[in-house]
Point group: C2
Chain length 116, copies 2
DNA sequence: TGTCATGTGTAGTATATAGAACACGTTTAC
DNA sequence: GTAAACGTGTTCTATATACTACACATGACA
């Protein structure tokens, strides 16, 4: 599923219960032109900037990291974390690439709960 | 130290032993105009693209992840890894942000050597 | 049945990115 | 002592990014 169609589906689901989730009203709340949001949802243009994606995610109640990933982007704060120690994080991420979800989840929990 | 001055210093160190590391010859090997590399080294323009940084790192015998980080970038392959599982990696990276180098290194080794 | 909101088509814009091309004065090497 | 190599100043360009502005047809709904 593309970024645009995901946004459209999510917004229309919300709209079925709340008419304030019309394209125009969402566009106004997140501070873009309706025509632009229309084109984004239809994939007529590339996904918007990180800042706009964040406002959109907040308005639609979605996880911004997921929405950013669908847009082909990585949150700039994560990039900053990596850039601070590029070799360590590069090795770690390349190690974790092959790992199945459940193993990765164990690592995340171990890091969260263990004392390192 | 900036990207440019780091490249210049590294290149001039190499040049002291090997005249093939003149600005012009490095520029030719990595496929850019000498004037452009000159401006990069002096910080007159922004760091070049990821592809050019990779060629430069290879030519100078440097770690491309480090050079990319100095350029304010994160390797696109690492970004691809994160985008494949954005929530898990976002949580992990934000957990690891505060961790001191030696603790992070232990995590990296544990992930490399342990069976997850 | 008029009006108000809705979604969309077309055109245009400002800024950033990522360089190339050429000319020039200065060293360096033979 | 001159030809080749060197580093750099200036100008220009092509493409991508991230939108705005305006107009228009359609639909809801009172």
């Amino acid at each position: 599923m593309t970024f645009g169609s995901y946004v459209r589906t999510t917004r229309e689901d919300l709209r079925a219960r709340d008419k304030r989730f019309s394209l125009r009203q969402v566009a106004e709340r997140i501070g873009v032109e309706p025509a632009y949001l229309s084109k984004i949802e239809r994939g007529d243009v590339a996904p918007p900037s990180e800042a706009t994606i964040r406002r959109l995610a907040a308005d639609l109640g979605q996880d911004s990291d997921i929405l950013l990933a669908m847009a082909g982007k990585v949150s700039s704060d994560l990039q900053t974390i990596i850039r601070a120690r590029p070799q360590l994080f590069a090795e770690l991420l390349r190690q974790l690439r092959e790992m199945p979800d459940d193993a990765l989840l164990r690592v995340v929990r171990e890091v969260r709960d263990g004392d390192w």
